[in-house]
Symmetry: D2
Subunit: 247 residues, 4 copies
């Protein structure tokens, strides 16, 4: 493995982001991005204490300036590092509302973080990913992963803001995959179709067995597997559901 | 037919928008929206001279204020009118560019007009469409149509801005369809998969027969047919290609 | 309109097939195919009495020999006729059953009629459709339409036989469209997503308004519109739902 | 891991099937099904010599009788064994031909092996898979995998036989997934979108780098990963392409 490869996770919260960060921290120094430092502070400490290497940076991925400042810090800390894996897991708040009751600010909120943010994050990480692809000692091809949702492929009533953002993110992932696969970067999109088992969803599906929810650490396993696929086998999309999901 | 029903077309240019406006003007007074008055002025004159009734309003559909001002003018001119048909045909400029060369302003331009604009246009027209659905004398159910493109279902390399906007527009159309069909509004999305035969594309596919391009007046026929479908037969999506299209 | 153009409908029953036959009989002599003569006899009489021209032929579309015999009769009756429209509306019986309880005969039944039958019907009608495309006096391009269902795009549990047949039929329609559009034949597939309002479904959704079901005559209108599209505007797929359908 | 769990691969040839068999043989005794014994004989020997356990059975998966005889042999050899993984990799011959030149036998050939065969294989393996799902000592949930192709989602001209079969197989996979996931069986479908690097394709894409083709052993890695996913993270579909694939 390249001695100076790192992994970057945007959108580190208590669920998928944290699990993905832990998983990739077993192989690479990790950089954790979140707007609210509370979302990564204890995780950074946990990883650093348990033999890994992590840094957290507070940033707003929808702001070019804020993201630039964040990546300046990354470069300072990890001079000359290549990027082995970049995972975009940010979604932005979204409201479930009748169309006629929805404020335009609410409608665009999902796009600003989840699509414009994904675009900016991709621009920020692709140079490092390309560099990793050229590193002969790199164990795996560089991988850029986007986290989608049921709404990536199904636009339900009252979900106009979230569904437009998630459909758009899926388009972004495919467009980047087609442009950068020939240059050696593996780009993948994951349709997470179900409730993820985190603190915030503790009360949901309460009377159902554990198999009614998706395990964040299981998503992390799937992402890790994607990041280990060879250049002769790129998976560009996976879906993920718990055993008991109706679909 | 209800005596006071109108049709509204957003994104009137020299191609689809104009043809749609002409077609619907045969049945309803029409309101034509475009940013640049040059795009509708001669058409408004043409329709008014040939026995129809048309008004043009210059507006930026991506601006809530501008659009509100436009619809205030519509209400002034067409007091108590219901909306029989609303067609959203605006796309916003888009650039075909490698991802790393694309300015964030270029990336979001397609979304601002084509998605946020579509959202605002829908909010502006749905009250009038719902009212039309309650009009017992209305001949056809009210219809809201969105114009999509190949990029609505296919995200190619270098097309990240356009494809994200078009995927998102398709999601918006479906979400609105599911919310408003039970309330009587027919919502449809058209995937226009091919080159439309207009002045700007005159030099494209020059050596091919006329059947290599899509006729704008043929798109208008298809939209008109959608607007005449009964409440027991709503088509929510059609695709359109010329005979000689490869797909 | 070409003086010797006919329309052929396979799968004439009490619903869509009959409505389509009536609609096209207003423009062309029609040939009605069904396994059971009871399915077309009164309709043939009705059309012939009301100024149209119809003939019915009993045939099993899944049998090459039976279908050949049927088309020999068509040629006898309509010497030198071109085919303006061919509509494939046959489905074959299907059973809703747990996979482990399904007999192989039940599983393949949908395919035999609905896919192999569609293939044989296409082979039987395409020469006449191509000839119609070359007729300079023909008003509209020749059109070949396949009737699909919700199961064409959604494979639910217990529906393995029907869903495999309907997915396959959609593939057949697209493959033929791509091969024959450049030769002038318009091929379209309709996803009928809802309950059609016929005698057999009288008791279904009984407490709901009429808009909870699809009108067969409305499907016929949509098919007729498809058959009138120009060579510069082929729609290859439409979906159809009643106003109150949940999807 | 359950002491008596086996893996079964149908459609063992020189490419994907053999690679999958080798991969799963590292964890389970494997049963290899192929019509032609030449397709598995040396592989069975290779696995048995290198510490694994393999048996080959000649069978025609499209024949209920032949498949029943094969599974009788499996039960004889592996009494009381559960099935940890069943992989359906058979396709049947297919011809690329203009629709009007295609014999009905050629058209249905892909369906007979690839869809009816997949249905019969599923019926034969699901009881053993369900049993594995109830085994408290089983390391992973039981997994049933179907091998698809580009034609599973794209129906091109001249490919009517292959595309109808592959669309149908995808429907079968989803229908079974929805029925059996709640009972603990993980069902997945893989869209193999590209040329697999095997003896038969040696001359294809000859001037391109190795990354223009898919590695069979890489497909096997992806299948193995699917078979290790937890009940809180079932992936029902993956796509697979080589780095240099255009799509």
């Amino acid at each position: 493995m390249a001695s100076k490869a790192i992994a970057i996770v945007a959108g580190v919260g208590p669920g998928t982001g944290a699990a993905v960060a832990r998983k990739f921290a077993a192989a690479y120094p990790v950089v954790l991005l979140a707007r609210n430092p509370a979302n990564y502070e204890s995780l950074v400490e946990e990883i650093n204490k348990s033999g890994g290497k992590a840094m957290g940076i507070s940033t707003d991925v929808s702001s070019p300036e804020s993201l630039k400042a964040a990546f300046d810090k990354v470069k300072e800390e990890h001079k000359d590092a290549t990027i082995a894996a970049a995972i975009f897991n940010a979604s932005g708040r979204f409201v479930r509302k009748p169309l006629l009751d929805m404020a335009v600010e609410d409608f665009v909120a999902g796009y600003d973080v989840g699509v414009k943010g994904a675009f900016l994050f991709s621009q920020s990480t692709l140079p490092g990913l390309l560099k990793h692809g050229e590193d002969k000692e790199a164990k795996y091809p560089p991988t850029l992963i986007f986290t989608g949702a049921t709404a990536s492929i199904k636009a339900n009533a009252l979900m106009s803001g979230f569904a437009t953002a998630k459909f758009a993110l899926r388009a972004l992932s495919t467009s980047i995959a087609k442009e950068f696969a020939p240059k050696g970067v593996h780009v993948a999109h994951a349709v997470i179709d179900g409730v993820i088992d985190i603190e915030r969803t503790k009360e949901w599906l309460k009377d159902m067995p554990a198999e009614a929810k998706i395990g964040p650490e299981d998503i992390a396993d799937a992402y890790w597997h994607l990041s280990t696929q060879s250049r002769r086998c790129f998976t560009n999309e996976i879906d993920i559901r718990p055993m008991l999901e109706k679909w």
